[in-house]
């Protein structure tokens, strides 16, 4: 990413943690960062949001793990990853050595899992904060997803906030698959979330016309990409409207600077670029540049001035 000659101050923050750019990767859409090095100056982006990590190494689901859909895709990776030991041993040091900020996404199937992960990440160099991926099935509640129940979601967030490094902001990542996203947002904020990441994928399904069965082994999968952008923007809008003081990391279908601008205007103080990276590995840097230009063209002196501006 080349420093652009727009006078716009692009700095922002995740909770209390300052970042020089509002554009981040999205969890699960840039692995743990290293693969993007040929395409993007990782030190210049807001942060690498790492693939959701659990306590133990996970193989993830069998293939096929994805289906392309109109302006989007369905995935069912199943959180393949090295587990927290692997992340601490390999990925986070790699990022820290290069001065790349890591926003670490954690996942689990029990409240204690999340807390244990937050504990392990205390004081780890380069770890800017935590994103709590509560779009996971809760084994203690017949597999209902934490994010779909305000109480379960809050339980996770308060457990994490209680043990997490005080210097690390904790963001709760919300699912759009709920009747009342503002209700969930209020609950997790009250439970101590320093900010909200929104949105995770929508639950979807694709049937293979040849096999005449669901494409994905897991039957359903997560829908992402530009197709879902209007839903994501609506969620950000509604939550910012209800709680303008809560920082939002916006995501869902962001592909260009003007897409990112929409999220900022709706109330996001930072954004993640997910599926668009599959289309364009330099997307994160490009979106930063395009957003800076778009803000300059509209007369904003700083990104912060534009946050929530569409609610005026």
């Amino acid at each position: 990413m080349t420093a652009l000659d727009t006078a716009v101050d692009m700095s922002t923050a995740l909770g209390a943690a300052p970042i020089p750019s509002p554009v981040l990767t999205a969890s699960g859409c840039s692995a743990n960062g290293a693969e993007l090095e040929p395409f993007v100056d990782l030190t210049a982006i807001g942060a690498v949001v790492t693939k959701s990590v659990q306590l133990w190494p996970r193989s993830g689901r069998p293939t096929p793990r994805m289906a392309e859909t109109p302006s989007g895709m369905l995935n069912s990776i199943g959180l393949q990853g090295p587990g927290i030991d692997g992340l601490l041993a390999d990925d986070l040091p790699w990022l820290a050595d290069r001065g790349v900020r890591a926003f670490v996404s954690i996942a689990g199937t029990r409240v204690e899992d999340f807390a244990a992960l937050a504990e392990r990440l205390r004081g780890v160099p380069g770890v800017l904060g935590l994103e709590v991926n509560i779009s996971c099935p809760n084994v203690e509640s017949r597999g209902e997803v934490f994010a779909c129940d305000p109480v379960a979601a809050s339980d996770v967030v308060s457990a994490v906030r209680a043990v997490a490094d005080p210097a690390q902001p904790v963001y709760a990542k919300l699912s759009p698959d709920v009747t009342d996203i503002v209700g969930v947002a209020r609950a997790v904020s009250a439970a101590g979330a320093d900010g909200l990441s929104m949105i995770n994928t929508l639950l979807g399904l694709v049937i293979d016309p040849d096999t005449m069965r669901p494409v994905l082994g897991g039957v359903t999968g997560g829908l992402s990409g530009p197709a879902i952008r209007p839903v994501a923007l609506r969620c950000v809008w509604q939550v910012h409207q209800a709680m303008p003081e809560v920082p939002i990391l916006g995501m869902g279908g962001i592909r260009s600077g003007l897409d990112a601008l929409q999220f900022v205007l709706a109330g996001a103080s930072a954004v993640s670029v997910g599926t668009a990276v599959f289309n364009d590995p330099s997307a994160v840097a490009r979106v930063h540049d395009e957003l800076a230009v778009a803000l300059a063209e509209r007369g904003f002196a700083s990104l912060r001035d534009a946050v929530g501006y569409a609610h005026r």
């Binding site: 069998p62 293939t63 995935n75 599959f278 590995p281």
Partner: protein
């Protein structure tokens, strides 16, 4: 199980992303051969690598990259052989000279080279044969005698027979007998392995559909020969960030992992890919326990 192969090593150069112009287009039977003016990709390419295209232009509803093997990389140009299949490859095959396309490459790990002079058999299925052109040339340059087996369902789905013919002895097979001998590449390969004296074949390389790769790898392993196959697993990004393209592959430590075809492959040791388990989650894959799969 001791392995006949070592995992392929990373390529020497990282990939680049460029918007490039189509400088040549030639229908070849059922395929279209495209030449791209892409010097920075061409100069970095090693045999076995591939490129990934964004498809559909600025109005596209298709986000995911399409991976295509590199058939040739010389004089600042990259050549690919495209089989129109779904919307993305059909769009690619419809590109005309002068059109531009966004391409990332070279991607993936190249075919490992044997020690100089090792006789090699190359097996290519359909457009997969095109991806063996660079390898054949490099093997010849290193003094290896090369036999190439090109197979396809029918004559119009063969590729690169002439190009390989300049570098190797070529055997052609088609399922319907419309060119070469009727039958499958594996029939030709089995015959070859039995007809030649031991040591006359030292390594097998293959590129083509998964079922063919499996048969070739099994035949090679049975014959005690190392084989390297370039797999074709469904990919969304091509650069290693999406985790959609995994296969169960046995590592140097003997443990099986879900390995990414794009960055850990596409070239794998033929005896390392657990073909029979593709599409399933075997209990002994690293991390299967965390998915609730238990040892039988």
């Amino acid at each position: 199980m001791t392995s006949l192969t070592s995992p392929a090593a990373r390529a020497a150069h990282p990939p680049v992303q460029r918007v490039v112009e189509v400088s040549g287009r030639r229908p070849v039977g059922a395929y279209v051969e495209l030449t791209l003016a892409a010097p920075e990709i061409a100069e970095r390419t090693e045999p076995g690598q591939f490129v990934a295209f964004a498809v559909g232009g600025p109005t596209s509803a298709h986000l995911l990259r399409r991976s295509i093997a590199i058939a040739g990389a010389a004089d600042g140009a990259v050549t690919v052989m495209v089989a129109p299949h779904g919307p993305g490859s059909t769009w690619l095959a419809g590109l005309q000279v002068g059109d531009t396309v966004d391409v990332v490459g070279p991607l993936g790990r190249p075919y490992p080279m044997p020690s100089d002079g090792t006789p090699a058999v190359l097996v290519g299925g359909g457009y997969g044969a095109a991806a063996l052109r660079g390898l054949a040339a490099r093997l010849r340059a290193a003094g290896s005698p090369v036999i190439a087996i090109c197979g396809a369902a029918s004559a119009d789905r063969l590729s690169s027979v002439d190009e390989l013919g300049e570098l190797a002895e070529v055997i052609v097979t088609t399922d319907d007998g419309s060119a070469g001998r009727q039958g499958r590449v594996t029939d030709a390969m089995a015959e070859l392995l039995t007809s030649r004296a031991p040591g006359q074949v030292g390594v097998v390389y293959a590129c083509g559909p998964m079922a063919m790769l499996r048969a070739v790898a099994e035949a090679a392993t049975t014959a005690g020969l190392p084989s390297y196959v370039a797999v074709e697993e469904s990919m969304a990004c091509g650069v290693g960030v999406c985790m959609t393209c995994v296969l169960p592959v046995v590592g140097e430590d003997g443990r099986t992992r879900f390995s990414r075809s794009c960055t850990d492959g596409p070239v794998f040791g033929g005896d390392r890919v657990r073909f029979a388990d593709v599409g399933t989650l075997p209990w002994d894959v690293v991390g299967a326990d965390a998915m609730g799969v238990v040892a039988p």
